[in-house]
């Protein structure tokens, strides 16, 4: 049931970089309202931020929702892949919608620029990885022009300062989940994902390159498809920018994007944070608008 102000009520589980950045974006949304911000430690930076925004906080983790199921309609899970496996059955039994920000591979994979409408038929939406959000829509555009492509690879470089402890510990999950999403959305027989952390000061912007092996590339059609996808992503991530348009180099297709964030919680270089939180908010807003069209559905 929507809140009295007509907004969809969301709880954010996880008070790290992703959870806190989500909070700022949710509170800016005309159709979402964060009714509970949940972590494990009331003294964390994220909790302090939530309190400063006047948002109700809890340090009871998933229990906060289990004990007060009416607190929200939708839950963002910004904890870890392992934790989401524990949280989802509880949320499902409580009838909550879930948007999972971890590389758990449990829910339906969602890239708003590709399959937002389809996702609204599912109860658990997985946002894959930051590098996946930056690259899979481009790879999907490339495969729509060349479904016969034989290989797709993506490389993301992110600033060391933007990679929190969970990201670092989950680097294998990042690689495997991103690669899995590439396979699913391109049908390429082989895929690969690579993540590079760069400690340069000042911090580098997130940069993502997509490579593809294609026998006879139609460069004009590829360029048009990639540019369309870039525009579609810019609708929810304004700092997403084509740096190297589709280029044929040494027998392979190469295209590179740069992602700057809005500077909500981390500085603007942390485009990797923004691209996944912005995608999450785009999905939540779509649920909210769907709920308005079909009262009671959400």
């Amino acid at each position: 049931m929507p809140a009295s102000n007509g907004k969809l009520r969301v709880a954010i589980l996880g008070s790290g970089n992703i959870g806190t950045d989500l909070l700022i974006k949710v509170q800016r949304s005309p159709v979402l309202d964060c009714t509970l911000f949940i972590g494990r430690n009331l003294n964390s930076r994220g909790m302090a931020k939530a309190a400063s925004l006047g948002v109700k906080v809890s340090d009871r983790s998933i229990d906060a929702i289990a004990r007060d199921p009416d607190c929200c309609d939708l839950v963002f899970d910004a904890t870890s892949a392992l934790d989401h496996a524990y949280h989802w059955p509880i949320l499902r039994n409580l009838g909550k919608l879930a948007i999972d920000m971890t590389p758990s591979r449990i829910g339906s994979m969602c890239f708003p620029a590709i399959n937002l409408d389809d996702c609204l038929n599912h109860r658990n939406i997985n946002l894959v990885t930051c590098g996946g959000q930056a690259s899979v829509p481009l790879a999907h555009a490339i495969s729509s022009v060349h479904p016969e492509l034989t290989y797709v690879e993506v490389v993301s470089s992110i600033a060391s300062r933007s990679a929190g402890p969970a990201t670092r510990l989950n680097i294998d999950e990042y690689v495997e989940t991103t690669s899995h999403a590439l396979s699913t959305f391109t049908n390429a027989p082989r895929t690969k994902a690579i993540l590079i952390l760069n400690p340069a000061e000042p911090s580098i912007n997130m940069q993502t390159t997509v490579f593809a092996l294609i026998a006879k590339p139609h460069m004009d059609a590829l360029t048009a498809a990639v540019r369309d996808t870039v525009r579609a992503i810019q609708a929810y991530v304004p700092g997403y920018e084509l740096l190297v348009p589709p280029t044929w180099e040494d027998g392979k297709l190469v295209t590179t994007v740069k992602v700057r964030g809005r500077g909500d919680y981390l500085p603007r270089y942390a485009g990797n944070l923004d691209i996944i939180t912005s995608a999450g908010v785009a999905v939540a807003e779509a649920f909210a608008r769907q709920g308005r069209r079909e009262p009671g559905h959400a």
Partner: protein, 341 residues
């Protein structure tokens, strides 16, 4: 009793120089001769290690399993080693495969400020009973205190030793001495150096490391490696023997091994080209050499400008995609200035 542990990554770093096309026959031939010479550890793989075959770094003509099997077959006393970088190689894929294929020694590598991404890989390998060394790459880019801090994390994760990689061949002996001495003072595990030869310093740097307390040194036959290549193994061992150190290696057989490598696997013995000097001065990973040369020619820009621009951006190992972007930018800037003339 050897007092210096020599590790030979000819069949790994050398793969950079031939765009990762070493064949099974070349690998097994070299491995057999390394065994005969008493080389303690032989590293094999794609230039950036297992799981790094990619369009970003270069596709490998053999898969990881084939590379490992070719090297493993002739080995008895020489232990088989690999290089793995989290972000490329995962526990579920490459590490498990390597254990299954008889790899005994692992270098778990990361950029020198990012040791915490190696934690799970190191723990997994230690549980499997492998020897694990932490590799801090591009170690010219961090100061001694930072390197100690990062090395200490690796020590906590359980490594047997920490190796500084001068991946750009950018360091001079004083810098090596300072950094290695800080590590040997600050850590309770063995310390080593993996040197590149961009500024002609690799043997001198290896000796400086030894004097500062290092006990592990890397070298490759004829210096076979990316760009200017690595420390020349047969020179290094000869110098160590002259200094009175024991490596456990038979020098004559090692000299034969290097001759065999030149005959069988090295199409061009590394020389210090202008590009390699630019790479060393700019502090950019030598592994970029083939890519920089090719891309600079394609876009009609000066390869040395590419190296220095990459250095200005603090590019790290694995960021080969930056080369194309930099070349496009330099070409656009050149086009613009030509237009104005």
């Amino acid at each position: 009793m050897p007092d210096v542990l020599i590790s030979d990554p000819t069949l790994r770093d050398g793969n950079h120089a031939v765009r990762h096309t070493l064949s099974e026959k070349q690998i097994s031939t070299y491995a057999a001769a390394a065994e005969a010479a008493g080389v303690p550890i032989l590293e094999v793989g794609h230039g950036n290690g297992l799981g790094a075959s990619s369009l970003q770094v270069g596709l490998c003509s053999l898969n990881d399993a084939a590379l490992l099997d070719a090297a493993r077959a002739p080995l008895r006393n020489t232990r088989l080693g690999v290089h793995v970088m989290p972000g490329f190689a995962t526990i579920g894929n490459e590490l498990t495969l390597a254990i299954e294929h008889g790899v005994q020694v692992f270098r778990v590598a990361c950029h020198c400020t990012e040791a915490d991404i190696t934690q799970r890989h190191v723990s997994f390998l230690r549980e499997k009973g492998a020897d694990v060394y932490g590799a801090l790459m591009m170690s010219h880019m961090a100061d001694a205190a930072t390197l100690v801090e990062e090395g200490y994390k690796m020590q906590q994760y359980g490594v047997n030793g920490v190796i500084l990689y001068d991946s750009a061949g950018a360091m001079l002996p004083d810098e090596v001495r300072t950094k290695i001495a800080a590590l040997t003072r600050g850590l309770g595990v063995q310390v080593g150096l993996h040197a590149h030869n961009n500024l002609g310093m690799s043997v001198a740097n290896s000796v400086a490391a030894l004097e500062a307390g290092a006990t592990i040194l890397d070298g490759t036959a004829r210096g076979f490696g990316a760009g200017a290549g690595n420390t020349q193994l047969e020179v290094l061992v000869a110098v160590l023997h002259k200094l009175g150190h024991d490596t456990g290696i038979d020098l004559y057989k090692l000299l034969d091994l290097a001759d065999l490598a030149e005959r069988e696997i090295i199409p061009a013995v590394p020389t210090i080209s202008g590009d390699s000097i630019a790479s060393g001065l700019a502090g950019v990973f030598s592994g970029f050499a083939k890519h920089v040369k090719r891309v600079a020619a394609e876009y009609g820009v000066d390869s040395r400008d590419v190296w220095f621009e990459l250095g200005r951006r603090h590019a790290v190992a694995g960021q080969e995609d930056q080369i194309i972007e930099v070349a496009l930018q330099l070409a656009a800037a050149a086009g613009k200035s030509n237009g104005e003339q």
